[in-house]
């Protein structure tokens, strides 16, 4: 019996190997590896985000591809685990004529891949996470924290709270609690918040919540005693819903809570039930419906090619983030084609240039059917983020609604200075001479 089993294993392994080599055909397609996670703790976010990206790929293909070049992709399950993610990256980076770009949607995996990118010449986007200082393209030529980073988000938060008080200087003497996930992630905004604390003169109280954050009574007791004007919730996973529920229990108004964008999806508020009503968070998408989402409903889901099994999730926060990410990738590839030859398959290096020269203004957004869905973006070698703008959204009990009609930007000059300092330190450690790569 054992022998039979071993035989079966060998046979299937051989079958797998042959099939893998067979899949290398079809050169006229732009290959994008998808390092997704659909199992484990963060599956709900992963399936929404990567589902959104694949839905957009299908839409592009249904509309004839990028100047005739169709997109092909292959998924690899990372389980949000750095080791698995690196394996997936290594497996897919040479496939289908070479990976165009990669987006792991996980800090651990992104760090595992980071050092390999310049050698492999594959660009990586990190939408809304990862190293904030990677925005400096002279030191990190292959990393694109598109739209906005944690530091710009923190700056945007203070700007919004200031606007609420009627001017940022009015925050002087106020108390702001930074309730954070006790990890590198939760500590990332410290430099920005501390700089504002000094320049404006509010009181910043930092309260850590140990992972996973299912028990927060003592923290909220502390908050009630301090009686702050605002609470910034820099949480992750189950911690968010617990924070909202505990806030309701101790009677802290949810309107005064401002969450980070990883605390601002349906997955965070629905478990908290009615307690979440009025809770606000940051976001880099304006919630709502857009022509492009309708087109996905019609052309992709209508044709039975939709990636989400639950159609109600179309247009949800994570799904829209995935669509946004894919839209920017395709823009990058399109840019590269405009420079290096329309209708051709682009290499990772060429797409790197394309991503470095994204310019999505309102006109382009309208053409894409996504007017105001995300801030306008213009990237350059010095600025791989391209925007730094954020929006605030509120949960009305059923759906997210935008609070700020316009995009909010904090003190970008200050953040840029910090990015320059931090990336210079990295460059010194790694002995990199900062320089823009030629096109």
């Amino acid at each position: 019996m054992k022998l039979k089993f071993a035989k079966a294993m060998i046979v299937s392994a051989v079958a797998a190997a042959t099939a893998l080599t067979g899949a290398l055909a079809s050169a006229q397609e732009q290959f994008i590896p998808i390092l997704s996670y659909r199992v484990g703790l963060y599956a709900s976010g992963g399936s929404g985000f990567f589902g959104g990206a694949i839905d957009y790929f299908n839409l592009v293909n249904a509309n004839g591809g990028i100047n005739g070049v169709k997109i092909s992709w292959e998924e690899c399950e990372t389980e949000y685990n750095a080791t698995r993610g690196v394996e997936c990256y290594e497996r897919l980076k040479k496939k289908g004529g070479g990976a165009s770009l990669v987006e792991p949607l996980g800090t651990g995996i992104a760090y595992g891949i980071l050092d390999r990118l310049p050698t492999d010449k594959v660009p990586m986007t990190t939408l809304g996470y990862g190293r904030s200082d990677a925005a400096n393209g002279q030191v990190f030529p292959y990393v694109f924290p598109l739209i906005t980073s944690y530091w710009n988000q923190a700056a945007g938060m203070i700007k919004y709270l200031g606007d609420k008080e009627g001017g940022i200087e009015k925050l002087k003497g106020k108390k702001i609690v930074h309730l954070y996930h006790d990890s590198a992630y939760g500590k990332e905004p410290f430099p920005v918040l501390e700089a504002y604390e000094k320049s404006i003169g509010f009181q910043l109280i930092k309260i850590p919540v140990p992972h996973p954050g299912t028990e927060q009574n003592s923290q909220w007791l502390q908050i009630r005693q301090a009686n702050p004007d605002y609470v910034i919730l820099w949480g992750w996973g189950v911690m968010n819903a617990v924070a909202i529920k505990t806030a309701a229990r101790v009677g802290f108004p949810r309107e005064k809570m401002l969450g980070v964008w990883w605390a601002g999806s349906e997955e965070d508020t629905i478990p908290a039930g009615d307690a979440a009503k009025g809770y606000t968070t940051m976001t880099f998408n304006t919630p709502g419906n857009y022509p492009v989402i309708d087109e996905i409903r019609k052309k992709v889901y209508g044709a039975g090619k939709g990636n989400l099994s639950d159609k109600d999730r179309i247009g949800s926060v994570y799904h829209m983030r995935g669509v946004t990410a894919a839209m920017l990738w395709i823009e990058g590839i399109r840019n590269a084609q405009n420079k290096y030859g329309k209708g051709k398959v682009m290499t990772g290096e060429q797409i790197r240039w394309g991503l470095e020269n994204i310019n999505v203004d309102e006109k382009r957004q309208r053409e894409l059917g996504a007017l105001n869905m995300f801030p306008t973006i213009k990237t350059s070698c010095q600025d791989h983020e391209g925007s730094g703008a954020v929006k605030v959204q509120v949960w009305d009990g059923k759906a997210w609604k935008a609070v700020t009609p316009n995009w909010v930007t904090g003190d970008r000059a200050m953040v840029q200075k910090m990015v320059a300092e931090s990336s210079a330190k990295y460059a010194a450690e790694k002995k990199i001479t900062p320089a823009c790569l030629p096109g």
Binding site: L20, S47, V86, E87, A184, Y185, E188, S422
Partner: protein
Amino acid sequence: MIYREAGQYKTTYDTDTQIFPIAQDRYAMLAILLIAFIVIPFVATPYIFSAILIPFLIFSLAALGLNILTGYAGQISLGTAAFMAVGAFASYNFMLRVPGMPILLAFILGGICAAMVGIAFGLPSLRIRGFYLAASTLATQFFVVWCLTKVPWFTNNSASGVITAQQIEILGFKFDSPQEKYLLVLGIVCVLALLAKNMVRSTVGRSWMAVRDMDVAAEVIGFRVMKTKLTAFAVSSFYCGIAGALFAYCYVGTVEPEAYNLDLSFRILFMVIIGGLGSILGSFFGAAFIVLLPIVLSMIVHVTGLPNSVTSNVELMVFGGLIIFFLIVEPHGLARLWQIGKEKLRLWPFPH
């Protein structure tokens, strides 16, 4: 037929006490080493090096470290990843702060730091055992990761708490390509595995096993329990520390403390349990099972062409099923299965 020791006489003490007393084993081992050191560097692709062989070797080393503590000395530990983290962050700081520090010395010093942390957190083992000890080693896990995020000095004041491994350079030779890194890891793992094998065959190892089997009895016949348990903690943590440093320097390159979380500790514990407690070879089997099998499975299920939301789950279910299958077939792990196979082979084709 082929695997038979008839005619192999042991005429000296040396031949009697060597690691592989059977000639075939010796040749097989030699062949494996030759293939690993000479053939593979020429034939393997970068994917095989950096996605399969390097992590496999690094996790084998970590599992070996834990196996010394849990398999040989009988002390359950859930702090393996923490010791790895100490090794990695200590090596990083030695490299960063001491000019001209040779990288191998930094690895060893990192391992020694991990050993010292291991001794400190091994102290409770003198009073408590079994599950209670497991709970106290859990404290190591949380304390170390917390400490590394809390004290900015450890990460060189990095705002995001990540460290970037420096360039590996030994005697002017730069280890850059996956192939060179593989050879470095392989060399270190071979030396340490040989050391471990000899350690468990010597007085030290025998005292560990005596304490594992019954510490009161071991004390009665003259082993000093405190010294024995603490050396086990020190040696085990040293191995884990080196594995952690290799994980940072030769595998991922940029790490955050969160990479060495409880999850990793559990994975290494599973490697030891599935591979075989109290077996050096078992550590390698276990690492292969936990690291490589999911990759093979994911390739196999991928061929079926099912949507990814299905295959991801199928993969996990099959993997879980296989763990249960192997543990039912042989609760003592894959190493024991291997041993049974060898015994059968010795008698083959005349089992009676």
